[in-house]
């Protein structure tokens, strides 16, 4: 079996899994809609029209998808190393607060060229900071990161609350003051007038670019390759002197940093300030995006757009079908993809095994 055929086999397997995930999402949607006494066909059509049917709708989908590009990437990076970063919610909340607070306290006439790099760095830094403790606990003590990151999530909720109460918030409100002009990320409608009215900002193309760059570069770095190996067999890696603990630490910290970037679209690109609860849910959905996207650029972009579409669609359909249904839909997609993954992987492995055996027999 040539290299080319192996590559296409893996591509087919992933594409199949993505299609299965999408199909499962649609099927679940139809079932849930039907349970509410609405027509699946009518609701599907309305969903489509309300999202991709108008430029405004499309813009909104992109807006909702922007943080998901980042959070899906964050979860993916951790997942490659065999780690479940369930703490994206907390990391992005802390980062959002930091960005909102700093953005408000920058010099009034600071130029974007100075403000943006600073704020991006703060976003990444605070996200990374919030994942640091779980990262250390996991790499040095083996404490499972699912528990620690979830605890950090809860802690983030409290911390943000306290911070806002203690002075970061504008007097008399529960949000940070507006960020200075130079910190804003302009809306995409400045470049594409048809998108006027929608909240999508330049954070969206930045997000897409980040996904592409990271997914392409990662396997070309030493860290990137070793992280995957460490996930597969830490004992063998340790035996060959690969720094297992360090790779795990790096993975969670990078994941936290990427999660922090998810604050850009909502804080700098949309509201211009931070209030508690802004951007919530992106962390959880990020898990679904990462699972559905299977580490492929196209997969993750499509997955993020899908969930962005569902989020926007939830608003559109709210009169007929309540928004909570979307959460259930996410869960179904995650499970469907996971189930499909197992089955597909076994098929592929079996095929590869028989090829190897045939080659051996020929010798």
């Amino acid at each position: 079996m040539s290299r080319r055929r192996l590559w296409t086999a893996q591509l087919e397997a992933d594409a199949l899994a993505i299609v299965v995930g999408l199909a499962a999402a649609h099927l679940a949607f139809c079932v849930l809609v039907w349970l509410y006494g609405e027509s699946p066909w009518a609701m599907s059509r309305e969903l489509f029209v309300g999202t991709w049917g108008t430029p405004y709708g499309a813009g909104q989908v992109l807006f909702k998808a922007t943080p998901l590009f980042f959070t899906g990437l964050a979860v993916h990076v951790a997942l490659r190393a065999g780690l479940f970063n369930v703490g994206v919610e907390g990391q992005l909340a802390v980062a959002s607060l930091a960005v909102g607070a700093l953005g408000a306290h920058l010099p009034l006439h600071v130029h974007a060229v100075v403000a943006w790099p600073l704020l991006f760095a703060v976003a990444m830094g605070s996200g990374a900071l919030w994942s640091l403790l779980p990262a250390v606990l996991r790499s040095r003590f083996g404490t499972h990161e699912v528990i620690t990151t979830i605890l950090m999530n809860r802690l983030a909720g409290v911390a943000v609350n306290v911070a806002l109460g203690v002075g970061l918030a504008e007097a008399g409100s529960v949000r940070t003051p507006d960020v200075v002009l130079g910190a804003h990320l302009p809306r995409l409608s400045t470049l594409f007038p048809p998108l006027r009215g929608s909240a999508v900002s330049f954070a969206a193309p930045i997000a897409v670019a980040t996904v592409i760059v990271v997914v392409v570069l990662l396997p070309r770095t030493r860290y990137g390759r070793e992280a995957v190996l460490v996930a597969a067999n830490p004992v063998a890696c340790a035996a060959e002197r690969i720094p297992v603990g360090r790779r795990l630490l790096e993975s969670l910290v990078i994941s936290g940093a990427l999660a922090g970037l998810a604050s850009l679209g909502t804080v700098l690109g949309y509201k211009g300030y931070y209030e508690q609860g802004l951007g919530a849910g992106a962390g959880v959905t990020g898990i679904a995006v990462a699972m559905l996207g299977r580490g492929r650029i196209v997969g993750m972009l499509v997955a993020a757009l899908l969930f962005g579409m569902l989020a926007q669609g939830g608003l559109v359909l709210n009169a007929h079908v309540p928004m909570e249904v979307m959460e259930v839909l996410q869960a179904v997609v995650v499970l469907a993809v996971a189930l499909g993954d197992g089955a597909v992987r076994r098929q592929v492995m079996e095929a590869l095994r028989s090829v190897a055996v045939r080659a051996e027999a020929r010798v």
Partner: protein, 294 residues
């Protein structure tokens, strides 16, 4: 304070024992949180409909067992990673309970309240109420029964075996899938009962009312080295923290944030302090391990 602690401990302990059951058989269970929500909603819904608390409790246990079966099927048959399945269940439960709340009662945050129950709220009266509560009794039974069953019965031995080395069990002719199914079903039923305890205590179901207890219960299991007796102790410690929160509530605004953070901080600190570095802290050897099919 004692009364508050007792009240608070019931959901933790039940969920933790549920976690022990499931994880000792080798199936990772991060879905305790979601299962608690399901149990809470079902218990209140059934109690409201039938007017019988006992029916509500029984239904909650049953619903928990069903959730557990879904989880174990995904893991054993579908070969899904236990964590992924658990997270999906949590997601589905969070959304699903809100969907059902709205569908059945028109609100996506509260259910109607259950009638009855004493209104004692302090001191000895509260202690009395806590002791007499049926869920407290259930908790005591579970706390005593779990270690006994795990150590001294055939089922318990097989569950422990599955958690250490499923290949050996299989070679001995024992059905690993069936044993795990029972263990996880029992475990999730217990977690659901924990949620029921929580909801019935408040006489209503509120969306998201488990508030992270399921994860803390799991942390308690880890801290306790997966031993039921110690897990109960760990839960008691967390319950004390909860009780402190309740008692000090509204007394010092500045401290409020710290109080809220206390359970989580305490858990994190405990995880750092009590970590046992040899043999991965006493975890069942086969926990979460995907078996090679070759």
């Amino acid at each position: 304070m004692l009364a508050q602690t007792l009240r608070a401990s019931v959901p933790y302990v039940l969920a933790a024992q549920g976690g022990v059951w499931s994880e000792r058989s080798g199936v990772v269970n991060v879905a305790l949180e979601g299962t608690m929500l399901v149990g809470g909603l079902v218990s209140v819904a059934v109690a409201l409909t039938t007017g019988s608390l006992a029916a509500g409790i029984a239904a909650a246990a049953l619903s928990g067992a069903l959730v557990g079966l879904v989880h174990v099927c995904a893991v054993e048959l579908g070969r899904v990673d236990g964590i992924v399945s658990g997270l999906a269940i949590n997601l589905a439960a969070a959304g699903g309970t809100r969907v059902l709340l709205r569908a059945w009662y028109g609100s996506s945050s509260n259910s109607p309240s259950l009638a009855g129950g004493s209104s004692a709220s302090t001191g000895l009266a509260l202690l009395g109420r806590a002791l007499v509560d049926p869920m407290t009794l259930v908790m005591l039974v579970v706390v005593i029964a779990t270690p006994f069953v795990l150590q001294r019965t055939r089922l318990g031995l097989r569950v422990r075996g599955c958690g250490e080395s499923p290949e050996v069990l299989r070679a001995a002719g024992v059905s690993v899938s069936r044993t795990r199914a029972i263990a996880v079903a029992v475990g999730c039923a217990l977690a659901a009962l924990g949620g029921a305890a929580l909801a019935l205590e408040q006489r209503q179901f509120q969306s998201g009312m488990s508030g992270g207890r399921g994860f803390i219960a799991l942390a308690a299991v880890v801290l306790a080295g997966w031993r039921p007796g110690r897990a109960t102790l760990a839960c008691a410690a967390f319950a004390i923290l909860d009780a402190v929160q309740v008692v000090l509530q509204g007394q010092a605004r500045a401290l409020e944030g710290l109080l809220q953070a206390l359970p989580y901080l305490a858990t994190l600190v405990a995880l750092v302090v009590f970590v046992r570095r040899q043999t991965s802290g006493g975890a069942p050897a086969a926990l979460g391990r995907a078996e090679r099919t070759s």
